[in-house]
């Protein structure tokens, strides 16, 4: 993390130097100092739109994760659901969900709803697939032991398979955290009157490239905060796992 910060600062300095040395016009590539100025001067506008995008992401995450985990549990509990539902879920992975954005705007309007659906949709599959995989691959010897102890299927699911699937679910949630902002912003690009994605298009159209960059910075900050915040929580949840998956850094 510390080294990453140093590298980032170095790159920003390089960027600043390059814009001055190459004499790039601000409507092509504004200097970081100009972006910072825009961040400061347009803070209120940015905050307004950031709040909207954050709301879309948050609700989308909750809905997508709920649906994804729900599907995995249902499919694991019911062989019937597994036969009828799983092929559709797997096939749905192949659909480029982003291509649905225009349709979603048509159906759910220019407001929050279409972006929430978009974010939920892109989250749904990785969460459902990862959790299902985790639930399915409980070591058989654990289940055998539980059976000799007289455990019911429900108890085995709740006390054994579910906790054993948490590391896999955590991986799905990390992916979800990474793609949710993309879903929301693409939804905003396709049709909206608010949000950071909207602001970026709007600023672009008016050649306010410094504002566009400022919106991008805010979006990136939100996405990074979301990812690392969730990652920290997940690490704590599955810290029993000897080699916690995906130890980044």
């Amino acid at each position: 993390m510390g080294r990453g910060l140093v590298t980032a600062i170095g790159l920003i300095l390089l960027w600043e130097a390059a814009t001055h040395l190459l004499g790039l016009p601000p409507y092509i590539l504004p200097a970081p100092s100009q972006v910072a100025t825009a961040l400061w001067l347009r803070g209120e506008v940015l905050a307004h739109h950031a709040l909207i995008t954050a709301t879309e992401i948050a609700i989308g995450l909750v809905v997508g994760v709920a649906l994804g985990t729900g599907t995995a549990l249902l499919v694991v509990r019911s062989p019937l659901a597994r036969r009828w539902l799983m092929p559709v879920v797997i096939a749905s992975q192949a659909i480029p969900v982003f291509a649905l954005a225009p349709l979603l705007v048509l159906w759910f309007g220019y407001g929050l709803a279409s972006k929430i659906v978009m974010a939920a949709l892109v989250i749904y599959f990785p969460v459902a697939a990862a959790f299902f995989d985790g639930l399915r691959t409980t070591p058989p010897a654990w289940i055998e032991l539980a059976r000799t102890m007289g455990a019911s299927d429900g108890a085995i699911l709740w006390r054994l398979r579910l906790p054993a699937a948490l590391p896999a679910l955590a991986q799905g949630l990390r992916i979800a955290a990474a793609v949710a902002p993309i879903g929301a912003v693409i939804g905003e690009w396709v049709g909206s009157g608010a949000g950071l994605g909207f602001l970026m298009l709007h600023a672009n159209g008016r050649m306010q490239i410094d504002l566009l960059f400022a919106a991008l910075v805010v979006l990136a900050a939100m996405a990074i905060t979301l990812y690392y915040g969730l990652d920290a929580i997940l690490r704590r949840l599955v810290q029993w796992q000897p080699e916690t998956l995906g130890r980044s850094r």
Partner: protein
């Protein structure tokens, strides 16, 4: 009242994996309330036989595993597998309480802690398996098995991962705690079998056969330096070595 420990009768027991017959037509009686020890070379099928009794592997269709009192075997078995099977997200105490939690019973924390303390794990009740040594993990698994308090106890090499002195202590403790139960103990160690078993069987060959029951003199828990035991150990080792040739 705990129900009394029944005989377990295996008749024409057989198991095959992928067309490979491990054993078939095997008859064996585990005497009620006594310890039967099963010795044999690696891969002969000892664990599989134990798992057959626990109803964890499908046996030959004409084979039968029954309890002498006519009751079911399933539901009266405490099973300690060759791997410790500790759940990594639970600490030692949580693992010992697993059976009660799975059955939705009120967990008897005090008893779990006493058991762990008896096994020398008083300081480790809050440790997760990842932080334990192999021997500690095995002792937690033993505590979990004892916690189940069943009339039939199946144990697969329960003392393999501990040092010699600890092993003697654990053998004594298990013999005391499991006295009066029908116990099947799989082991690699002839001396352990002779020390603990009312009856010892040697399992050899493929398809595997069981030796006639060997009944060491005296009663378990026998002293390890008993000359009669050491002589028998020599003979058992000879038998196992012959099979290996």
């Amino acid at each position: 009242m705990r129900d009394s420990a029944p005989d377990i009768r295996l008749e024409r027991a057989g198991v095959a994996f992928d067309g490979q017959t491990l054993f078939r037509g095997l008859d064996l009686v585990l005497e009620g309330g006594r310890w039967t020890c099963l010795l044999g070379p690696s891969g002969v099928g000892k664990s599989t036989l134990l798992r057959l009794v626990a109803d964890l592997v499908p046996g030959a269709p004409d084979g039968r595993v029954t309890a002498g009192d006519g009751g079911p075997v399933a539901g009266r078995v405490a099973f300690m597998a060759q791997q410790d099977l500790l759940l990594p997200w639970l600490d030692a105490r949580g693992n010992v309480l697993l059976g009660q939690r799975l059955r939705g019973e009120k967990p008897d924390t005090a008893r779990a802690e006493t058991l762990l303390a008896d096994l020398g794990l008083a300081q480790a009740t809050q440790l997760r398996p990842a932080a334990m040594s192999g021997g500690m993990r095995q002792r937690v698994a033993l505590a979990r098995t004892l916690m189940e308090d069943r009339p039939i106890v199946l144990m697969d090499e329960p003392f393999a991962a501990v040092d010699a002195v600890t092993r003697l202590r654990l053998q004594a403790l298990a013999a005391e705690r499991l006295a009066g139960r029908t116990v099947l103990l799989v082991t690699h160690d002839p001396l352990e079998a002779l020390r603990l078993g009312h009856v010892v069987h040697v399992m050899t060959g493929r398809p595997a056969r069981l030796s006639d029951p060997i009944r060491p003199p005296g009663t378990p828990l026998r002293p390890v330096d008993d000359p009669a035991l050491l002589a028998l150990q020599g003979e058992l080792l000879r038998r196992l070595a012959e099979d290996a040739e």
